[in-house]
Symmetry: C2
Subunit: 330 residues, 2 copies
């Protein structure tokens, strides 16, 4: 075992409490000479704080926990960057646990590995928590916040306004002359999906078009969902534009469209939702409704940290990035 505070105390000839004060930098409470000696001794002995001991006595730590889903969400990185930056600005550490959204047992393990320690708070990155696991989290009395996911109950979250996303994406196509517009990859269970669908319908309603059922293809935000959606539309589709619920879905649609012999955007326009780097590495580059994932991370740590109290359901703004996948028609 490595050196403890006692070893240092013995070596220097002071009490453990003095060492503790020095190492915790409680200046005013020690003089510089002893401090020097203590620090040197710590150095020499290769002292390393035992956080388990610290947390046990303090009953809290300065670590923030992030729970991410193991499904390949390519925006998780941006959120994490935001969390990390804001956390380190306040001197908090960040630990991440990895959970398969689908498996509630695995989800519980992930959750427990963080809430069994006195973490400052937990941030959930587009994780659909099971009923039980949500209760587990609530009962722990640790502050938490969902990121990139909204809810209709009173759970704290920071996300984009998904109605607005659906609306703006569709509207963008409409403004470019499109009327037969599909919605690809939406998943109906989470609130997010339903909201985007609402936005989509609202925009279409404004120009008096009533979307056929076949225009709305469900999926799970994955590449393959995109391919499937486009396959279902078929090579003779009446659609001239498609709203895709994620960048990966958009790429799936793009490739399958290409397999059908479509040229994008000449034969078919695509607008993607998310706006990650992926949009820029495909050809044509994808026009997108971009979310500010980085800021979600920042606001997330503020929320579990500041105890702002009431304003615990926040939206971050979205913006349109016009690239090359939308064409003006007619």
């Amino acid at each position: 075992m490595s050196a403890t505070i006692k070893d240092i105390a013995k070596k220097v000839g002071v009490a453990p409490s003095t060492v503790s004060r020095v190492l915790a930098n409680k200046s005013k409470y020690y003089n510089l000479e002893t401090a020097e000696k203590v620090k040197r001794a710590a150095q020499e002995l290769g002292y390393k704080k035992n956080q388990a001991a610290v947390e046990l006595v303090k009953q809290h730590s300065n670590v923030i926990a992030a729970v991410v889903s193991s499904v390949k969400t390519n925006f998780a990185g941006e959120i994490l960057d935001g969390i990390k930056d804001e956390a380190s600005r306040h001197g908090y550490d960040l630990i991440i646990v990895y959970s398969n959204s689908a498996d509630s047992k695995e989800q519980e393990r992930a959750l427990l590995t963080v809430i069994e320690r006195p973490v400052l708070g937990v941030l959930l990155l587009s994780i659909a928590l099971s009923e039980n696991n949500l209760n587990l989290l609530k009962d722990s009395e640790i502050p938490y916040c969902f990121l990139s996911m909204g809810f209709d109950d009173n759970r704290p979250f920071v996300s984009s306004d998904d109605i607005e996303i659906g609306y703006k994406a569709t509207k963008l196509l409409i403004e470019n002359g499109h009327r037969n517009i599909g919605l690809a990859g939406i998943d109906m269970y989470p609130y997010t999906g339903r909201l985007r669908l609402d936005g989509y319908k609202k925009a279409l309603q404004e120009i008096d078009v009533d979307p056929k059922d076949s225009w709305i293809q469900s999926g799970d935000y994955s590449y393959i969902s995109g391919e499937n959606a486009m396959s279902n539309y078929g090579k003779n589709t009446e659609l001239t534009g498609i709203v895709c619920v994620s960048d990966m879905v958009a790429i799936g649609v793009l490739n399958q469209a290409r397999n059908f012999g479509f040229k994008v955007p000449d034969d078919l326009s695509i607008v993607s939702i998310d706006g990650t780097e992926m949009c820029k590495i495909v050809q044509p580059q994808l026009t997108s409704i971009s979310q500010d994932f980085y800021k979600m991370g920042i606001k997330g740590v503020q929320q579990i940290t500041d105890n702002i109290g009431d304003k615990n359901q926040q939206f971050v703004s979205i913006h349109i990035e016009e690239r090359e996948s939308v064409k003006f028609i007619k």
Copy 2:
């Protein structure tokens, strides 16, 4: 504060140690009736283990720590999946910390947040540790292992054989009739890059071609490195095939080549290194030398876990995946 073992003990009317035994499932050492009562009480009180206390007394935990670099390595997910699966097979938990490879101060924070707790071991996912931080890790006496990165000293690692990667990638092009072959995106500092370069040169040497300096374009495994490399080759390049050191580099090369008016693979062949999903979502799909990242994760936890002792530098096998970006010429 939430309920402790003592609260349960009091409620049930037994000693704390009994509660501990029941909750730790040390069967044989308690009878079923008390066990029942204890468990029910724990349930009712919403008891949650305090891991800080457990770790303090046990001086070890069952958590494995993974350090990942915040640069967008798209294969980290696959390694993590391997780690997670193997870890949970043994009942270990996994926590991940996020570190910017470039900033040694940030790297230290990340490292400290895990080695200040009694973790089982730490896995470093393509992290170039600074001298100091490596010593920090060594001094902690916690088992560690580098993943997806080899070294010429005695550090434990599991990675692919990078000479073989460079060699096979180049050889594949040679077998398809190419002689003027570039190497794009290599970074010379880490051992990995030099090794791949060696493999590349070796393959070329076998057919008596001496690569010009301009054929070898350095970079940092990123998309932009790929674009730059191709820009430097120019639209009148003599190259007919290019080995790219990562999928992202390959995509950068692909897009820039397309900007020059090249058709891939008709005018230019590309072989990528890594073989992540990225290879399949671009058109044409990229032929790759694929690494078995998932297995690296598995072997990594075995290594820090088994104390296999000697065999602490392991390779996992690579394989060629022929897709659509290489054309037979002449």
